[in-house]
């Protein structure tokens, strides 16, 4: 590339970088973070350590013979990186009662896939229902910080029959 072309490239990049960042902010407010975009992890949210509340999901499967089994998100979503599980649970496995929109109940559309995930844990009987149980988890202040309270919020029940 000629020096002039390189110079022009740098000028364009210097103009485009703030513009794309502004776009990330606007699109992120209205929808969700766009991709690809040149941003780094922000960890924007500020948690208060002495009153940390976190919404967490766990899975409970009911089989045709009455057997019930609890599964973690890590066991259910092992096809995805662990750091993606929180985002995927929020966008795909969250009851409309919590999110305000049925769009977050997309997991219902993956019935066959869900059956394939839970069947190996109890091959003797067919799975008939999957409950995604959402709870609010509260922690004590440091330094002990054990889980002190699990408060049920809502459940997304998916019929697997």
């Amino acid at each position: 590339m000629s020096r002039l072309a390189v110079r022009r490239l740098f000028v364009a990049v210097l103009i485009l970088l703030p513009l794309q960042y502004a776009l990330v902010g606007v699109v992120g407010l209205r929808w969700s973070e766009p991709w690809p975009a040149l941003v780094m992890p922000g960890f924007q949210r500020v948690y208060t350590p002495d009153a940390l509340r976190e919404q967490a999901a766990r899975f409970e499967v009911t089989y045709a013979d009455g057997h019930r089994l609890s599964l973690t998100a890590a066991a259910m979503l092992h096809a995805l990186p662990r750091s993606h599980h929180g985002g995927v649970l929020n966008r795909q496995f969250r009851p409309a009662g919590l999110s305000g929109t049925p769009a977050t109940e997309r997991a219902r559309e993956g019935r066959d896939w869900l059956i394939r995930q839970v069947q190996p844990y109890h091959p003797e009987a067919d799975p008939i229902r999957l409950d995604v149980i959402w709870e609010e988890v509260r922690f004590h202040p440091l330094p002990d910080a054990p889980v002190v309270e699990r408060h049920p919020l809502d459940t997304l029940s998916i019929d697997l029959r």
Binding site: R3, E33, P36, Q44, V46, Y47, Q92, A145
Partner: protein, 374 residues
């Protein structure tokens, strides 16, 4: 205009050999640590097993994709990605391999981030595309061995471009924290994130348990301020090569601190920081690639064997995971890469400090200090 030109073109002097070694380093790091097809964030083939209904592309070009392709498509992406990386390692059709590596990473990551979560790996994926413009295949490459024309001119401005993109990216991380309230003395944001990672995500490895006992608001607030100042300051740092190198070195320390405390790895940024090392005196002790690999069956066989190995067997470093079991989602390859980078930064820092001391207090005539070249 002179200063602007000097910043663009003269900030990072390069040699064909230095760029060649950087290219080999990028390819090796990617094959061994990022491990396309096997790494936690590059097991693209698994995406093809997810239900179509889960496909939820983020705003952007992925929305134009009509649906989730099947596993065969993703296996093809992994295969081609490994082929391009092996070609990059050997320096075979370097420019094409560089461009395709970036494109294939963008495709793979694009699908991976279409289920509800985005990781910030764009800069890592852009490195080959940007460095292709530097002619990083001019030395230590099959292209160089087969070349009949004069060697192409190498350019340092892509490294300045990389610095600008990195500086801006880091600035966005700091700015997001600033507007999020990280500097409010009544809240300790780093502590809040640490507790959340420790208790809800099970990130309890390395020094994490030690930090549960630290309750001093002064300590945690100083971490909040240091993080925001460091990340936002990166943008100003890239205006000068020396401060760019200093901040890149600090970033390696910063990522190791988050690794040991929060058990979060950001090893994908290491190849970006490595671009700012002064490679003008780098030389490989042995010819690479061997002359006999440059042509015919030997070349084809090397490409195929390398691609097959990394596609179906994977990174030898992944075998280290069998030795240690983490409660977090860290892998040994990431840990080894980050700690090695920290060791390198400390060694280079000590070397620079020794040189500076010698230049300030010259030794009497007749004595000598071994140079960095040995």
């Amino acid at each position: 205009m002179d200063r602007f030109d000097r910043w663009i073109f003269d900030s990072f002097p390069v040699t064909p050999e230095g760029l060649g070694i950087y290219r080999i380093g990028y390819a090796l790091f990617t094959l061994l640590v990022v491990a396309p097809g096997h790494g936690a964030y590059t097991r693209f083939a698994d995406l093809g097993t997810l239900p179509e209904g889960f496909f939820l592309p983020p705003p952007g070009p992925m929305m134009l994709v009509p649906g989730l392709p099947g596993p065969l498509f993703f296996q093809g992406v992994v295969l081609l990605l490994n082929l391009c990386l092996v070609a990059l390692l050997l320096g075979y059709r370097t420019r094409l391999a560089s461009v395709l590596t970036t494109v294939l990473f963008l495709v793979g990551f694009g699908f991976s981030y279409s289920f509800g979560k985005i990781n910030h790996t764009l800069l890592f994926a852009l490195v080959p595309l940007i460095m292709a413009a530097s002619n990083w295949g001019a030395a230590y490459s099959v292209d160089a061995l087969r070349r009949q024309n004069p060697a192409p001119v190498v350019a340092g401005w892509p490294i300045t471009l990389l610095a600008l993109l990195l500086g801006f990216g880091m600035f966005t991380a700091g700015f997001t924290k600033l507007i999020g309230g990280w500097l409010d003395p009544s809240t300790q944001a780093a502590q809040g994130h640490f507790i959340r990672q420790f208790y809800t995500l099970g990130r309890q490895d390395f020094l994490a348990p030690v930090f549960t006992r630290i309750t001093s608001p002064v300590f945690w607030e100083s971490l909040d301020w240091a993080t925001v100042c460091f990340e936002m300051g990166f943008l100003a740092a890239v205006l000068h090569p020396r401060t760019t190198r200093l901040f890149a070195a600090l970033a390696v320390g910063f990522h190791n601190a988050t690794l040991l405390m929060l058990n979060i790895s950001f090893a994908v940024n290491l190849p970006v920081y490595a671009a700012f090392l002064d490679g003008t005196r780098w030389r490989l002790p042995v010819p690479f690639p061997p002359e006999r690999l440059a042509r015919g069956w030997a070349l084809g066989g090397s490409l195929l064997a390398g691609t097959a190995f990394f596609t179906w067997i994977g990174s030898p470093l992944s075998w280290l995971d069998g030795l240690v079991s983490f409660s977090s989602d860290l892998t040994m390859a990431e840990v080894v890469a980050q700690l090695t980078a920290l060791g390198l930064v400390l060694a280079l820092g000590a070397q620079a400090w020794r040189r500076r001391r010698v230049s300030r207090h010259p030794l009497p005539d007749g004595t000598s200090v071994p140079s960095s070249d040995g």
